[in-house]
Amino acid sequence: MSTVTTYRPSTLAELRDALVDSEGERVAIAGGGSAADWGGAPQYDAVLDTTGMSGLISYNPTDMTVAVQAGMPLATLQETLAENAQWVALDPARAATVGGLVATADAGPVRHTFGTSRDSVIGVTVVLADGTVARSGGHVIKNVAGYDLAKLFHGSLGTLGVLAEVVLRLHPRPAATATLAVPCDAAEAFDLGGRLIHASLEPVAVEYCAGRLLARFDGTAGGVADRLRRARALAGPDAAEAPAHVWDEVAAVSDGSDGDTVVRLGTAPDRTPSLTALIAREAAAHAVTAAMTSSPFAGAHTVRLRGGTPAAHAAVVTALRTEYPATTVCRWTAGLRDELPAWGAPPPAVAVMRAVKHAFDPDDRLGSGRFAPWF
């Protein structure tokens, strides 16, 4: 990689031109850069920086939909929406752009209720490697006309095309919110979380992080107070209401910092306790400090490894992959890439993914190597 060209379009037309002009070059698509490390390390001759495409295209508070350029930071969008007591049902994600969130398929604790960006995106405009501009979906929340390309791009990590514009459905901001924290082990957390759900208390998020179950309730003032009271009664004497900033700890584990390794993976919900035990055992065996945060009922987990050698991190991730091959390494401690393949065993539908990649980007220009060795 001698000289790397950077393209920083600010309009759809400039974006299309950048892809046409860069013909023959391998291109890395960059949003806020907070997840540039996910998966394999791509080969590239040029960077396509989407952060110049950060405009609000249209916002219709009455319909509760918004269209943005994909380089808009989620945080900026949420601020605009807050003025109308609305939000995109995704947790705060500091540097992330809307396009980056779709491309990484990442989500935080409210995924328990609202899923990931896939469940909020109702339309996209994408630009393919050959400059084709295509859209799917639209501006209405209910729409089954044509294939849903937004889903296909969900998790695409910059390998299928550039998300240029994204239309999202919005939700009302709740009038009240409260969090219950319950110190417990993973098995107790899973059990209690299940009881809160079966009691129809409708927690908006249920997260197990650092030895505590966190359950958040959103709703009307009276409703939240009532549910918090009933949840406390179910949870026992150790349960207490916690300040909103307890969720920062979840974000800290999800994100990690320099020198850490961070891994995301999915399991069936009831695997949460055994996964927690597996991580503790492997971390101890390899002298690494592990932290975990889980949305047990979405079956989504993040493991953060800190301290120890790259070889030790590799050993823990390898043990994890033996049981759960579908792990994504989101942050690599220095030297780890030499010790560990970017991905574990491929999913059953890898042949279809490969065919999709070939149909959208036949010359493998975009994010080349991101999914190696799968394709």
Binding site: T125, N143, D148, A355
Partner: protein
Amino acid sequence: MSWTSELAEVLGRENVIADPARLRTYECDGLTGYRVQPAMVVLPRSAEEVAAAVRVCARHGVPFVARGAGTGLSGGALPVADGIVISLQRLRRVVEIDPVNLRAVVEPGVTNLDISRAAAPYGLYYAPDPSSQQVCTIGGNVAENSGGAHCLKYGFTVNHVLAAEVVLADGSVTRLGGDSPQLPGYDLLGAFVGSEGTLGIVTQVTVRLLATPAAVRTMVADFATVAGAGDAVTGIIAAGIVPAAVEMLDNLAIQAVAASTQSVYTPDTAAALVVELDGPPDDVEEQFAEVQEICRRYGSTKIMVAADADHRALIWKGRKAAFAAVGRISPNYFVQDGVVPRGRLAEVLGRIAAMADEAGIRVANVFHAGDGNLHPLVLYSEAGGQHDRAEHLSTAIAELCVELGGSLSGEHGIGADKACSMPRMFGEDDLATMLRLRSAFDPDGLCNPGKVFPTPRLCGERPGPYRPHPLEEAGVIERL
């Protein structure tokens, strides 16, 4: 050996139908105006047999069409003349209800309602509830990304499916999705849901189950005008309330319901809204009062609150029977399925009424108002020679929805019915890009061909109506 004999051998003679009289049962779905007789119908008893049948088709280049209960309203399960229909009706086992992991594993021929029935003993249910839920299959729901009255709050099929076992067009079997939505790679499952049977055949589905809400409150609010009811819907949404359901019936629909079942609706009201809230009791009570207040503010003439579960059931019975009930007041009808932004409900209803007047055709409206999904029922008499005029009006209504910033279809799908209208909503490049996805799944185009996408054979050689390219809309390029 001919491919038909090969199929008979692979599946067993008793599991294939080739007799023209018996084939007739399969020649259409709920869109009964379109009929094609397939060469053969096969009735596999397992996923392996589905795959075996598809392998025979792949080897001989024979097109195949999956079929669930055949309740589809867009001709999605319309057969192909020289192809086969693969019925999934014999794959109807509820494989597992897993209350701990809040999910169910079912075969594709299981009906939507049977999933909730099987989950009920655990206090759980499957949320998407198409009005056809007693008969339609989960396989059909996955293919259509079906919705229902309660999808306003809970989302559509795509938000509730975790995994699917799929037989691909070459007869290989794969799994999309997994134990958790947290998976690396492209969301192929998400792209597959709603692909109308064109990307493969579902042979097993894992769906999420939800806990039954603690409280449910339902009301029917009457309005003196349809526009008033439309504005009230906009008002409820704008107030930041997310009801479980907001449904609208206009007077013609109410008359139809009254003609067919014990009706609880006011016979002479211009429009009625069914609003249901569910969730934790305190939250529901507070917002239920607020919704009543909003309805009154928008001129509601009468509000009836469901007194108990039986009363609520009657309200819903009327609503869910409305399509069928229309048969009582009109010999024939088309069901439309367009969507408009929720702020434009009153406007679109006004324009539909004007178009209906001009065409001299009656249109009844009964629909999912909360998400802007219209179901205009275009009433006509085949015998009276109104078919073409009614069909024209029906298409014009769907295209009007697109013009107002909405969609051709909210839940019934494009199928064979609206394929030729797709260029109204999507440009050439949009459709070509979607076809790249299709080619990745099914390079030979054997899987439910002739659906969703316009083809010259289907739509004639004339180019689709003009629709601006995204770059053109952005003022970047001009078409001269």
